[in-house]
Amino acid sequence: GPKVLQIPSHQIIDMGQMVTLNCDPVSNHLYFYWYKQILGQQMEFLVNFYNGKVMEKSKLFKDQFSVERPDGSYFTLKIQPTALEDSAVYFCASSLGLGGRTLYFGSGTRLTVL
């Protein structure tokens, strides 16, 4: 089936540093998403993105977070500066459309903030 690739699979950084998580979505998909999963907890919606703009973001999407997809390349989540509570697994997803269209997920990036 369609594949979403996330790079890197694991990232360790010091608190206060900037980190960029990269996502290569399914090639013809138009809608992109980030989800956050803290160990042992459920996956929670962060943000979705379409046509160069954020459509909706949750309260977890702090001011230190930003997303972009310049020129159809990687869909990125940037955190600047990072905090200890940002340690989690971040999942990227993409879909062809809205209205319940299937989201295809990547395998996640485990972010550890020291």
Binding site: V4, Y31, Q42, M43, L98, G100, R101, Y104, S107
Partner: protein, 115 residues
């Protein structure tokens, strides 16, 4: 607000036995419901989804789920499990109308299949 509850954090069954993983949802409108599976070190993979029509939906690898509106449930079933079904299973809901395709997930159920 929408929410999903998976009351069983862990389920252990013997290979060849039947399986039911429970899912209860809360959504004020018409829901779209999903079951995803996550194998170790992999992303979530869609097992099945319910949009409308026949409340029993068939998915991959012999899985099925039944939408019971009166009970707000969408339990996942399989007649005979295999050791390779060991994984984490997530139930999710989104709205049929409006919204931004935002999925709300349950906490997941870890399924262990023992020989």
């Amino acid at each position: 607000a929408q929410s999903v509850t998976q009351p069983d954090a862990r389920v252990t069954v013997s290979e060849g036995a039947s399986l039911q993983l429970r899912c209860k949802y809360s959504y004020s409108g018409t829901p779209y419901l999903f079951w995803y599976v996550q194998y170790p070190r992999q992303g979530l993979q869609l097992l099945l989804k319910y949009y409308s029509g026949d409340p029993v939906v068939q998915g991959v690898n012999g899985f099925e789920a039944e939408f019971i509106k009166s009970n707000s449930s969408f339990h996942l079933r399989k007649a005979s499990v295999h050791w390779s079904d060991s994984a984490v299973y997530f139930c999710a809901v989104t709205g049929a109308t409006g919204g931004n395709n935002k999925l709300t997930f349950g906490q997941g159920t870890v399924l262990s299949v023992i020989p």
